[in-house]
């Protein structure tokens, strides 16, 4: 390499140094190296010198950067100490912005991004039949259809059905208890891809109807109940299931942390019989593992084609269904996904507003420091140095803000999680900070620093030194451009606040609507619990009926109890739907027959829940022998027998072609939202309980005197006194059940309202800052105007008009954006349209009010300008 080439290469490497250093010293350094090389005659020695010089660059350049940044940081800290209040406000505002964003991101990460705890979890899909009607059938698969889908598909590695269920555990000398269990078809564990810790999981033989009962335990359960005894394998435990009490042999233990579905502690094979499970019995959920390289969409196409074949082969058992296959994680987080993503959008707005606010503050600060910057420039600080100084300052603010934000998030995340009722979030959700969280926080901090410091840095770099020095510090050079930029920033803040306020307003209306909702029954003073009677001691029929009567009597005898009833499920937990056929009406196919909520209740159910009997009578003891009677709700009566009495009419349930027996209507009751208080138009039919229905899970409803504490423990004790083998679970109140069923609304509303309030506050403060600054800058002009005879009213009007222009522009943009953005909220809204004019008007009024407040003080100050003083200052 020639000497020139080696010097050129060396000079190129000097780019590793900071610009300022390079500009000042690079020519000298190169000259020095050239001198050194020239002084050597030996080629090898020359090369060694060159190599050492090159190596030194790699050591010295990073040190030079470090020294420069250190100096900048020291300088920035000194500035911050000098302007304590401004810096403190900036850090606080950024902490709120970053903290809110980090908090919501932690929730999003823990729920939506954190992978499920199963190997290659992205290959897991949720499979369901659906007839595509809203409020129609979805979320389940019929067993015969499952078998066909299993044998004919080409896209799945494995496919299983599962069902979560409480099982009763009978123990010697203790009350029976109910714990969370899971049923699955044989391939369940293969689908999930998790091998057992001990023993084995289900084989196809275990899953055959009437096979010997077996059970797999969770690691927690095995450790807590059997002290982790490895000899548990082969032992039998008494489990009360939907099939009755069964002595089940323990065949395996799953590893720690394995729970599926929900928080299941033990698993049993389903042992389904295709003869007793028809293609219209929809109660089992499906999970599958797609083959490697197959997407969920491809699997769905494959399964849909098979479902079409099935529909052609079994025309009377089809109801127009297709198959949906979605990523399991998407399905498992389906409820909270839109809520969280909306919140993420909301906090992004809050963070942007915070950045705009602080950027504006920094612009003011920069313009106040214009002379200082000019002096530093004149003393030789390069432009890049001045820009870097701003970037370091904003970076420091960003980092301090991020530290504050992380502290805030550290407190806020657990607090928010406490607002979610137990069992609503998936067991596998993990909210601890992982690499993704850290990358996110570092990125938003960097982004914040750039947004906050970018504009002042840019204006400082464009500063005309000569003018700035000549003007003697009266900020104007980047005052004019800066003021324009700040005006735009405030308008943007107003627009984003409008967006958040509109969202929050709509959610508040939704929440109020839900709270005011007439659910059709009285929620207060009602305790609910579930009982599970062992089928071996209480076979269906008289024994079961007698037990239920006895429990009812015991409950009713408790002090303060007004009435007692039992039902197949408590309100909101109901999910038994059957097709309805009306005598005399045209026979509809299964596809077209309406689905009704099907409830089995004891006499006194309507009185206990406070559902009015509009016509006819309640069920009575006489119905025990003649149980082909039914009570329908007013919606059904109105629809099928308008302007006529429904009494004496006959209806039947199940697939229309099945010719199940007719039931005679003996009563009409008010409509009650038994399934979901948001859902309209889902009607209910009631049939009497006569010991003939499954009582492995029976809901009890106990109404008490108002003002009395829930008698949950007393009820539990009474059941235990009757028979310790009857397990009791889910002791709660109806109020709690209803609140938990709509927990998302208050959760979401509170957060959104908080973010909107924060946005409004920041925008108001931002507007105040801009107006106050404008007035102070225009002191001279206002003084002249007043000297020329302008009245205080005119001056005030001038300032208010200027602020009105900013707010008006922001408001217009914000409302236009809201019209589009609130559509994304549509699914979360109840009883209010996304473009609800009242909400929009209220938001506009609120914002104008806040703007007037923010502009009034500067406007008043403008009128107090003393013309003589203002002119003399000049």
């Amino acid at each position: 390499m020639s000497r020139d080439a080696s010097i050129r290469l060396y000079r190129g490497l000097l780019w590793l140094y900071p610009l300022e250093f390079r500009e000042h010293f690079a020519p000298e350094i190169c000259l020095l190296l050239a001198d050194n090389l020239r002084a050597q005659t030996n080629g090898l020695r020359r090369f060694a010198i060159w190599l050492a010089a090159v190596a030194a660059i790699f050591v010295d350049a990073p040190k030079e950067h470090y020294h420069m940044i250190r100096q900048d940081v020291i300088y920035a800290l000194r500035t911050m100490r000098r302007e304590k209040l401004t810096s403190l406000i900036a850090i606080l505002v950024l902490a709120l912005g970053i903290g809110s964003t980090a908090t919501v991101f932690t929730l999003v990460n823990g729920l939506l991004l954190h992978p499920l705890p199963f190997p290659q979890q992205d290959r897991l899909i949720y499979v369901e039949e659906s007839n595509g009607k809203s409020g129609g059938v979805s979320g389940a698969i019929a067993f015969p259809n499952y078998l066909d889908l299993c044998s004919r598909n080409r896209s799945l590695d494995s496919f299983a059905l599962y069902q979560s269920s409480l099982v009763a555990l009978r123990r010697e000398g203790a009350d029976a208890e109910r714990i969370q269990g899971g049923y699955g078809t044989a391939p369940l564990f293969r689908v999930l891809g998790v091998p057992p810790l001990l023993g084995r999981t289900f084989t196809p033989e275990d899953d055959r109807p009437n096979a010997a009962p077996v059970v797999v335990l969770s690691e927690d359960f095995w450790r807590s109940r059997y002290s982790g005894d490895p000899a548990i394998l082969g032992k039998t435990i008494q489990i009360g299931t939907m099939f009755g009490i069964r002595a089940s042999q323990v065949i395996g233990v799953m590893p720690r942390g394995f729970h599926f579905p929900d928080n299941a502690q033990m698993w049993m094979p389903m042992q389904l019989d295709v003869r007793s499970n028809t293609r219209t019995d929809l109660w089992l959920e499906g999970i599958a593992r797609v083959r490697a390289g197959v997407t969920p969409e491809q699997a769905q196409t494959d399964l849909r084609a098979i479902m079409q074949q099935i529909a052609r082969e079994h025309p009377t058992e089809t109801y127009g269904q297709t198959v949906n296959a979605v990523r399991f994680q998407t399905q498992a987080t389906g409820d909270v996904r839109p809520v969280l993503l909306t919140l993420l959008g909301a906090v992004a707005c809050v963070l942007l507003i915070a950045c705009a606010n602080i950027s504006s503050l920094m612009l003011v600060r920069a313009s106040a420091r214009q002379r200082e910057i000019a002096v530093r420039g004149a003393l030789g600080a390069s432009r890049s140095r001045v820009v870097r100084q701003f970037v370091v300052e904003s970076g420091l603010l960003g980092i301090l803000g991020a530290i504050g934000g992380m502290a805030m998030s550290w407190i806020a995340v657990p607090a928010l999680l406490r607002l979610t009722p137990a069992g609503t979030l998936p067991v596998w959700a993990n909210f601890s900070a992982d690499l993704r969280t850290w990358i996110f926080i570092v990125s938003i901090t960097a982004g914040t620093a750039i947004l906050v410091g970018g504009l002042p840095a840019l204006s400082a770099s464009r500063l005309n030194l000569v003018d700035a020095l000549k003007e003697g510090g009266r900020s104007n050079t980047f005052g004019v451009a800066g003021a324009r930029v700040r005006a735009c920033l405030v308008a943007a803040e107003v627009a984003m606040s409008v967006l958040l306020l509109t969202g929050a307003g709509l959610m508040i209306r939704t929440f109020v609507n839900l709270e005011r909702q007439d659910v059709g029954f009285r929620i207060e003073n009602l305790t609910t619990l579930y009982s599970a009677a062992p089928r071996d001691r209480y076979p269906l029929g008289d024994a079961a009926a007698q037990l239920i009567e006895r429990i009812e009597r015991e409950f009713a005898s408790l002090p303060g109890v007004v009435s007692v009833a039992a039902a197949s499920a408590a309100p909101m937990a109901h999910d038994w739907f059957r097709s309805l056929t009306v005598e005399g009406a045209p026979l509809l196919s299964l596809r077209d027959a309406p689905l009704e909520n099907h409830m089995v209740v004891t006499p006194g159910y309507f009185k206990t829940l406070g559902i009015p009997i509009l016509e006819g009578r309640d069920f009575g003891r006489g119905d025990e022998t003649n149980f082909r009677v039914t009570i329908v709700d007013a919606g059904i009566a109105r629809h099928y027998w308008p302007n006529r009495s429904a009494l004496g009419k006959r209806i039947r349930f199940g697939p229309p072609e099945d010719n199940e027996p007719w039931f005679t209507v003996v009563g009409v009751v008010g409509e009650a939202r038994n399934q979901d208080i948001r859902k309209l138009g889902l009607n209910s039919v009631y049939i009497p309980y006569q010991g003939k229905f499954d009582h492995s899970s029976l809901a009890w409803l106990v109404r008490t005197d108002s003002g009395m504490a829930s008698p949950g423990d007393a009820l539990r004790r009474r059941v235990s006194q009757i028979d310790r083998n009857v397990a009791v679970s889910d002791v709660t109140t109806l109020q709690q059940i209803v609140d938990e069923s709509i927990w998302q609304e208050p959760f979401f509303t509170t957060l959104l309202a908080f973010f909107a309030a924060l946005a409004l506050l920041m925008a108001t403060v931002g507007l105040y800052g801009v107006m106050a600054y404008t007035v102070s800058r225009r002191t001279h002009e206002l003084g002249i105007r007043m000297a020329l005879g302008a009245s205080a009213r005119e001056i005030r009007g001038m300032v208010l008009v200027q602020s009105g222009r900013l707010v008006g522009a922001g408001l217009a943009i914000g409302i236009a954006a809201s019209v589009f953005a609130t559509r994304l909220l549509a699914k979360q809204l109840y009883g209010v349209k996304p473009t609800d004019p009242q909400t929009f008007l209220a938001v506009a009024a609120l914002l104008i009010g806040a703007a007037l407040l923010a502009s009034y003080l500067p406007a008043r100050r403008a009128t107090r300008v003393d013309p003589i003083l203002a002119l003399r200052e000049e």
Binding site: E28, L31, L32, A52, A53, A56, I57
Partner: protein
């Protein structure tokens, strides 16, 4: 006119002085020099044992200028010998104080070494 740099509080803040910096101060103690001259002087005094690379030399110079130990001259000291392309440096009064303080420190260290018998009284 040399540019004024702010002087730090006390020379002792710089002790112990970095080896390169002390050598630069010693090189500048006699008369003002440019970078190559400083390097040659150091090489001559250390019999070629201390080799500072060009980039390290100027990193040290920059740091010393920032700290007010040396200053860059706007004028050239001797128009006859002057190489117009080069920048010249001069030790400041403060730089002198720091160099003296460092020399005293080294002296004390040597005295201690002698007192303990580690180093003979007379070499």
């Amino acid at each position: 006119m040399p540019r004024k740099r702010p002087e730090p509080e006390s020379p002792s803040d710089f002790l112990p002085l970095q080896k390169d910096m002390f050598h630069i101060l010693v090189a500048l103690a006699g008369h003002d020099r440019h970078g190559y001259s400083i390097m040659q002087d150091i090489a001559a005094r250390t019999e070629g044992k201390l080799q500072i690379s060009p980039s390290s030399l100027y990193s040290a110079i920059k740091r010393m200028m920032d700290s007010g130990l040396i200053e860059e001259l706007d004028e050239r000291p001797d128009p006859e010998r002057d190489d117009q392309r080069r920048r010249y440096y001069r030790i400041t009064d403060f730089g002198r104080k720091v160099a003296v303080a460092e020399a005293r420190r080294l002296e004390r260290l040597l005295a201690d070494a002698r007192a303990t018998g580690l180093v003979p009284k007379r070499l």
